[in-house]
Symmetry: C2
Subunit: 96 residues, 2 copies
Protein backbone atom coordinates (compact mmCIF):
# COMPACT_ATOMS: atom_id res chain seq x y z
CA UNK A 1 0.00 0.00 0.00
CA UNK A 2 2.81 2.42 0.83
CA UNK A 3 4.02 2.25 -2.75
CA UNK A 4 0.95 3.93 -4.29
CA UNK A 5 2.14 6.87 -6.33
CA UNK A 6 5.63 6.79 -4.89
CA UNK A 7 8.14 5.33 -7.32
CA UNK A 8 10.53 3.09 -5.46
CA UNK A 9 8.80 3.41 -2.11
CA UNK A 10 9.02 0.30 0.02
CA UNK A 11 6.18 -1.42 1.83
CA UNK A 12 6.20 -0.51 5.50
CA UNK A 13 6.44 -2.89 8.44
CA UNK A 14 3.74 -2.05 10.99
CA UNK A 15 5.46 -3.98 13.80
CA UNK A 16 8.72 -2.12 13.21
CA UNK A 17 6.71 1.11 13.05
CA UNK A 18 5.23 0.38 16.47
CA UNK A 19 8.78 0.49 17.89
CA UNK A 20 9.45 3.89 16.33
CA UNK A 21 6.56 5.86 17.82
CA UNK A 22 8.49 7.46 20.68
CA UNK A 23 8.15 10.92 19.16
CA UNK A 24 4.83 10.45 17.35
CA UNK A 25 2.77 9.19 20.26
CA UNK A 26 2.94 12.38 22.32
CA UNK A 27 0.62 14.10 19.85
CA UNK A 28 -0.93 11.26 17.82
CA UNK A 29 -1.11 8.51 20.44
CA UNK A 30 -0.18 4.85 20.25
CA UNK A 31 -3.84 4.33 19.37
CA UNK A 32 -3.70 6.95 16.59
CA UNK A 33 -6.09 9.29 18.40
CA UNK A 34 -4.99 12.89 18.73
CA UNK A 35 -3.73 13.99 22.13
CA UNK A 36 -3.88 17.71 21.36
CA UNK A 37 -6.20 19.88 19.27
CA UNK A 38 -3.46 20.76 16.78
CA UNK A 39 -2.71 17.16 15.83
CA UNK A 40 -4.89 14.98 13.58
CA UNK A 41 -6.05 11.47 14.37
CA UNK A 42 -4.01 8.94 12.41
CA UNK A 43 -5.76 5.69 13.38
CA UNK A 44 -6.62 3.71 10.26
CA UNK A 45 -5.49 6.54 8.00
CA UNK A 46 -4.74 5.73 4.35
CA UNK A 47 -1.14 4.43 4.30
CA UNK A 48 -0.18 6.20 1.09
CA UNK A 49 -1.49 9.49 2.45
CA UNK A 50 0.62 9.10 5.61
CA UNK A 51 3.76 8.32 3.58
CA UNK A 52 3.21 11.32 1.32
CA UNK A 53 2.49 13.60 4.28
CA UNK A 54 5.64 12.59 6.15
CA UNK A 55 7.74 12.94 2.99
CA UNK A 56 6.28 16.42 2.38
CA UNK A 57 7.00 17.44 5.99
CA UNK A 58 10.54 16.10 5.65
CA UNK A 59 11.22 18.01 2.43
CA UNK A 60 9.56 21.14 3.82
CA UNK A 61 6.98 21.17 1.01
CA UNK A 62 4.31 20.90 3.69
CA UNK A 63 4.73 23.31 6.59
CA UNK A 64 4.19 22.59 10.25
CA UNK A 65 6.64 23.67 12.91
CA UNK A 66 6.54 20.41 14.88
CA UNK A 67 6.30 18.03 11.95
CA UNK A 68 9.09 19.67 9.95
CA UNK A 69 11.43 19.10 12.92
CA UNK A 70 10.25 15.53 13.58
CA UNK A 71 10.20 14.34 9.97
CA UNK A 72 13.68 15.71 9.19
CA UNK A 73 15.24 12.78 11.07
CA UNK A 74 13.09 10.02 9.56
CA UNK A 75 14.54 7.69 6.92
CA UNK A 76 12.34 6.44 4.07
CA UNK A 77 12.11 3.16 5.95
CA UNK A 78 11.04 4.90 9.17
CA UNK A 79 8.35 6.77 7.23
CA UNK A 80 7.08 3.57 5.60
CA UNK A 81 7.05 1.70 8.93
CA UNK A 82 5.31 4.40 10.95
CA UNK A 83 2.74 4.89 8.16
CA UNK A 84 2.13 1.13 8.06
CA UNK A 85 1.58 1.06 11.82
CA UNK A 86 -0.98 3.85 11.95
CA UNK A 87 -2.73 2.55 8.83
CA UNK A 88 -2.99 -0.90 10.44
CA UNK A 89 -5.15 0.35 13.33
CA UNK A 90 -8.68 -0.84 12.73
CA UNK A 91 -11.39 1.78 12.82
CA UNK A 92 -15.16 1.37 12.94
CA UNK A 93 -17.17 4.33 11.75
CA UNK A 94 -20.66 5.26 12.88
CA UNK A 95 -22.01 7.96 10.53
CA UNK A 96 -24.38 10.45 12.17
CA UNK B 1 -14.32 23.28 18.66
CA UNK B 2 -13.67 24.92 15.29
CA UNK B 3 -12.41 28.02 17.07
CA UNK B 4 -9.29 26.40 18.57
CA UNK B 5 -6.34 28.51 17.58
CA UNK B 6 -8.25 30.43 14.92
CA UNK B 7 -9.07 33.94 16.06
CA UNK B 8 -12.58 34.82 15.01
CA UNK B 9 -13.39 31.42 13.56
CA UNK B 10 -17.02 30.43 13.93
CA UNK B 11 -18.30 27.13 15.26
CA UNK B 12 -19.42 24.92 12.42
CA UNK B 13 -22.85 23.40 11.91
CA UNK B 14 -22.53 19.68 11.20
CA UNK B 15 -26.06 19.42 9.76
CA UNK B 16 -25.41 22.28 7.38
CA UNK B 17 -22.07 20.67 6.51
CA UNK B 18 -23.85 17.44 5.58
CA UNK B 19 -25.71 19.40 2.88
CA UNK B 20 -22.46 20.76 1.42
CA UNK B 21 -20.66 17.49 0.74
CA UNK B 22 -21.47 17.23 -2.96
CA UNK B 23 -17.85 17.77 -3.95
CA UNK B 24 -16.16 16.24 -0.90
CA UNK B 25 -17.93 12.88 -0.90
CA UNK B 26 -16.46 11.65 -4.19
CA UNK B 27 -13.06 11.26 -2.54
CA UNK B 28 -13.77 11.37 1.21
CA UNK B 29 -17.20 9.71 1.34
CA UNK B 30 -20.32 10.70 3.21
CA UNK B 31 -19.02 8.36 5.91
CA UNK B 32 -15.61 10.05 5.96
CA UNK B 33 -13.82 6.98 4.63
CA UNK B 34 -11.52 7.52 1.68
CA UNK B 35 -12.78 6.41 -1.73
CA UNK B 36 -9.39 6.64 -3.42
CA UNK B 37 -5.80 5.99 -2.30
CA UNK B 38 -4.81 9.65 -2.66
CA UNK B 39 -7.47 10.95 -0.26
CA UNK B 40 -7.31 10.66 3.55
CA UNK B 41 -10.10 9.38 5.77
CA UNK B 42 -11.84 12.29 7.49
CA UNK B 43 -14.29 10.41 9.75
CA UNK B 44 -14.01 11.71 13.30
CA UNK B 45 -11.02 13.86 12.42
CA UNK B 46 -10.11 16.71 14.79
CA UNK B 47 -12.34 19.64 13.81
CA UNK B 48 -9.67 22.29 14.25
CA UNK B 49 -7.29 20.30 12.06
CA UNK B 50 -9.91 20.08 9.30
CA UNK B 51 -10.60 23.82 9.46
CA UNK B 52 -6.89 24.66 9.29
CA UNK B 53 -6.31 22.20 6.44
CA UNK B 54 -9.14 23.61 4.33
CA UNK B 55 -8.02 27.18 5.02
CA UNK B 56 -4.46 26.27 4.01
CA UNK B 57 -5.70 24.61 0.80
CA UNK B 58 -7.82 27.67 0.06
CA UNK B 59 -4.92 30.10 0.56
CA UNK B 60 -2.56 27.84 -1.38
CA UNK B 61 -0.24 27.49 1.63
CA UNK B 62 -0.87 23.74 1.47
CA UNK B 63 -0.55 22.23 -1.99
CA UNK B 64 -2.77 19.61 -3.54
CA UNK B 65 -4.08 19.89 -7.06
CA UNK B 66 -7.62 18.74 -6.26
CA UNK B 67 -7.96 20.41 -2.88
CA UNK B 68 -6.62 23.78 -4.04
CA UNK B 69 -9.38 23.86 -6.68
CA UNK B 70 -12.13 22.65 -4.34
CA UNK B 71 -11.25 24.85 -1.36
CA UNK B 72 -10.98 28.03 -3.45
CA UNK B 73 -14.78 28.24 -3.62
CA UNK B 74 -15.47 27.54 0.08
CA UNK B 75 -16.50 30.37 2.40
CA UNK B 76 -15.30 30.41 6.00
CA UNK B 77 -18.79 29.21 6.95
CA UNK B 78 -18.63 26.33 4.44
CA UNK B 79 -15.25 25.31 5.85
CA UNK B 80 -16.53 25.40 9.43
CA UNK B 81 -19.66 23.42 8.52
CA UNK B 82 -17.93 20.72 6.51
CA UNK B 83 -15.26 20.35 9.21
CA UNK B 84 -17.98 20.06 11.87
CA UNK B 85 -19.73 17.35 9.85
CA UNK B 86 -16.69 15.14 9.35
CA UNK B 87 -15.56 15.68 12.95
CA UNK B 88 -19.01 14.62 14.18
CA UNK B 89 -18.72 11.12 12.72
CA UNK B 90 -18.13 8.72 15.59
CA UNK B 91 -15.16 6.43 15.29
CA UNK B 92 -14.23 3.39 17.35
CA UNK B 93 -10.59 2.40 17.29
CA UNK B 94 -9.18 -1.10 17.77
CA UNK B 95 -5.42 -0.83 18.24
CA UNK B 96 -3.42 -3.78 16.87
Amino acid sequence: MAAFGLAGAQAGDARAGRQKLTTCQGCHGLDGLSKNPEAPNLAGQIENYLVRSLAAYKSGERKNESMNIVAKDLSDEDIADVAAYYASIQVDVLPP
